[in-house]
């Protein structure tokens, strides 16, 4: 048997999740103390345990929400459906919320999906790329006429989420081991980013969520004001947007600013 064939059989046996009947066993010897099925089974068992551990580490609140049994069922379904195609194990857990959204058994559970989305954002922002934050006084370099054309670059750790109301409260209760709140109707908007080397988050009013989403998409300051007004965010006056912008600077969210169409934006 070639090395390639042996590896294909070995991997198929591990992915199948059970050692009995694996074709690789034809190549494995019994040891003095243990039979080959037990020995190959070490790899099969370790595979499942390791992948469940990855999920447990990245989705502790989801586990608290679902309970041990349902979380294990979700982990099993995900592991069966999606073997890792990433070289670095760090990224294996990233697709769990997407899997839940597409899976028959989970797609109706918005509360669980949104909690998973929130936990994924916390994980992603924790080790996202570094960037210097831009200080607010850097804006003094721009002439007032340029303001409507200003576009901003944001810290790579910044992630915006629109979630079912109560998602962050559920998360807080879960990590503190407290009783979980009842599910509530409606939506909540959240910004997740990294500050002092830890993931942090804050609730956003709908108008701020809209303005920050537009800014993150690369729209210029003037356009954001107009679009916000157009979408009937009556609060969204240029003054309000400018005030929000100041807040983003103060929180270290802004990494660059430039005039649209000019070099260095």
């Amino acid at each position: 048997m070639t090395l390639a064939e042996l590896q294909a059989r070995f991997q198929a046996g591990v992915l199948a999740g059970h050692e009995d009947g694996a074709s690789i066993l034809e190549s494995v010897k019994n040891s003095r103390r243990a039979d080959r099925t037990t020995l190959f089974g070490v790899y099969v068992n370790a595979y499942r345990l390791r992948f469940v551990e990855f999920l447990v580490a990245d989705y502790p609140a989801l586990r608290a929400l679902l309970g041990e049994e349902a979380f294990q069922a979700l982990a099993d379904a995900y592991i069966d459906a999606e073997p890792s195609r990433k070289r670095n194990a760090r990224w294996y857990t990233s697709r769990l919320p997407d899997f839940m959204r597409g899976d028959e058994a989970w797609r109706g559970n918005a509360r669980a999906i949104d909690l998973a989305l929130f936990e994924r954002a916390l994980t992603d922002s924790f080790d996202a790329a570094d960037a210097e934050s831009l200080r607010l006084d850097a804006l003094a370099a721009f002439a007032p006429d340029d303001w409507p054309s200003l576009v901003f670059g944001f810290h790579p750790s910044l992630i915006l989420l629109e979630l079912s109301a109560g998602t962050t409260a559920t998360h807080t209760a879960a990590v503190e081991g407290a009783e979980l709140p009842e599910p509530s109707a409606g939506a909540e908007h959240v910004a997740v980013w990294r500050a002092d080397l830890d993931s942090v988050y804050r609730a956003l009013e709908p108008d701020e969520f809209l303005a920050l989403s537009l800014a993150l998409d690369g729209h210029a300051f003037g356009d954001i004001c107009q679009m916000a007004a157009f979408r009937d965010e009556s609060e969204a006056s240029p003054e309000r947007i400018a005030q929000l912008l100041t807040g983003w600077f103060e929180e270290g969210l802004v990494a660059s600013a430039g005039v649209r169409g000019e070099k260095g934006e």
């Binding site: 090395l3 494995v28 103390r33 243990a34 020995l39 195609r85 070289r87 194990a89 080790d127 790329a129």
Partner: protein, 282 residues
């Protein structure tokens, strides 16, 4: 061939110990990182590594190069690894004699190979290509394994020894893995140690494992056990002063416990050195 100067007695850099290492500056000679943990982006891992690196030599240890896989070498991975090495300036870069998956899939485990001439040709060629790409000599570690393949044509130690000659690579000898594999496959760990070419070994790994009765599992979550200490003494006598570190990956004890284990390794090495000198003088 010259071996890099020994770094002394080190530990694995693990997130749970970041604060303690940075604030107390413990008497550890060097740290080993798991390369992949710093191949993400930025934030705390990178910032902590920068601070530790300012005070201690660093060695990079990877788990994902998949040197023995029959999939194509992952050039994107090697490129990222090389970028990390340029930033970290490690004393050396290591990975395992193992594969992690085929067909684009990773099982995120160090999987065993049959010790055949075909495997040897294949792995030697990949080690050479990885070395060319990284622009440095690779250090290859013996993994713990649980199965023996019927296809094998030679022993693990002959395979490793020949690999170092063909690929001109170096070795990270995991003493615990020799004990674990020796038990599982019924070979004498001393025979393994005695067959490895002295000039190729640049690092020792020490760790604990779990004894399941019929087989032992390399869990890295226990203190170093007595037969691993004993084999370490033999290895030290054979290979001379070699950079030694303890790999603890789970069930983390207070940092002091790791320092005590490290102190015991220093004692074993010092005793072996003293006895070596006495017998030379005699």
């Amino acid at each position: 061939m010259t071996r890099p100067a020994p770094l002394g007695f080190g530990l694995g850099l693990r997130p749970i110990y970041y604060e303690e290492i940075i604030s107390t500056h413990p008497p550890v000679d060097w740290f080993e990182i798991i390369s992949e943990n710093y191949m993400t982006g930025g934030g705390r891992p990178t910032a902590m590594l920068e601070r530790v690196r300012a005070d201690y030599p660093i060695v990079m240890h990877g788990v994902a190069m998949s040197l023995a896989s029959t999939d194509p070498l992952d050039v994107d991975y090697l490129r990222e690894l090389k970028a990390l090495a340029e930033r970290v300036e490690p004393a050396w870069v290591s990975d395992h004699l193992a594969w992690t998956g085929v067909h684009g899939i990773s099982l995120h485990d160090l999987l065993p190979i049959p010790y055949t001439r075909e495997s040897l040709d294949h792995v030697a060629e990949r080690v050479m290509r990885a070395q060319d790409f990284l622009g440095r000599r690779l250090v290859v570690e013996n993994a713990s394994t649980y199965v023996t393949f019927r296809e094998s044509e030679m022993s693990e130690w002959d395979f490793l020894a020949e690999l170092t000659r063909r690929a001109d690579c170096q070795l990270l000898l995991d003493v615990n893995n020799v004990v674990v594999s020796g038990f599982n496959h019924g070979f004498d760990a001393n025979v393994f140690i005695d067959a490895i070419p002295v000039e190729r070994v640049v690092q020792f790994h020490m760790a604990g494992h779990t004894d399941n009765g019929t087989h032992r599992i390399d869990t890295h979550d226990q203190p170093v056990c007595e037969d691993v200490f004993a084999l370490y003494e033999r290895a030290w006598r054979r290979f001379g002063p070699v950079s030694t570190m303890i790999e603890r990956d789970d069930n983390f004890p207070p940092f002091d416990e790791l320092l005590s284990e490290l102190a015991r390794l220093r004692e074993i090495a010092a005793r072996a050195d003293a006895e070596g000198k006495r017998s030379e003088a005699a």
